[in-house]
């Protein structure tokens, strides 16, 4: 990835100001992943700006419980190079 901008905006939902930005990550990665290169990213997010997740969602096995849907599991994330992240 190169020269990326992500903007989740400023949370404005009424009634839940403490949580309105939840899950609005900028760049979100779930393993297994190998050879990830990011050079240049500007991120404004309501949650994690840049998230590398070998596992996620506080579960033991995302491959069976489908917490983040049926297409996401878990695994190692290796060989990562990140530069110019703002």
């Amino acid at each position: 990835m190169r020269n990326i901008v992500t903007d989740s905006g400023i949370p404005t939902e009424e009634g839940q100001p403490w949580s309105a930005g939840a899950l609005q990550d900028g760049l979100h990665f779930n393993g297994p992943i190998r050879y990830l290169t990011i050079d240049g990213a500007k991120i404004r997010s309501g949650d994690d700006g840049f998230a590398l997740n070998a596992n996620d969602a506080g579960t033991d096995d995302m491959g069976t419980d489908n917490e983040m849907g049926p297409y996401v599991s878990q695994g190692l994330i290796t060989d990562v190079a990140v530069s110019n992240l703002q």
Binding site: M1, R2, N3, I4, V5, T6, D7, S8, G9, T12, Q16, S19, A20, A22, L23, Q24, D25, G26, L27, H28, F29, N30, G31, P32, I33, R34, Y35, L36, I43, S45, G63, N66, M68, G69, P70, Y71, V72, S73, G75
Partner: protein, 156 residues
Amino acid sequence: MNGGGTDDTTILQAVLDRAARGVSVHLVIDGTALVSGLNACGNTTIECVAGGGLYLKDGSNRAIIRNAHRSRDAITDEHITIRGCFLNGTRYVKTVRPPLYLEGMKFEIPREPDGTYISGLQFFGVNDLTIENTTLWHARSFSIWVANALMRAVSP
């Protein structure tokens, strides 16, 4: 392409679907298009020029662009490039299905019907993915979401 607020999903998807027949596709978008979500097969480049980009149609409960054959355990698409695009998830105007809630937590989880979080760009099971010079604006959840990108042979 019609532009100007008309839903251009059908015509753009028809172009992208040529890649499913083994043809490399380079789709150039030189204006603003309203879509309800596009699927990119392998060997596809989506390039926006002259300020072009995609707006997600109100009520579309899916990613603006995702790979066509999503998988958690196989590599199903490869050589996909997104370049130069302004991609607007239109979160603040969207009407969506009733919110779901994580147990014990009170925030809304914007999900597709199958439970996948609604994100801006979504690539699950892709080799050789390139995203460059691209802006993601007001996605419903994660702006860019990549999973299962382990370099290995492509499954048929």
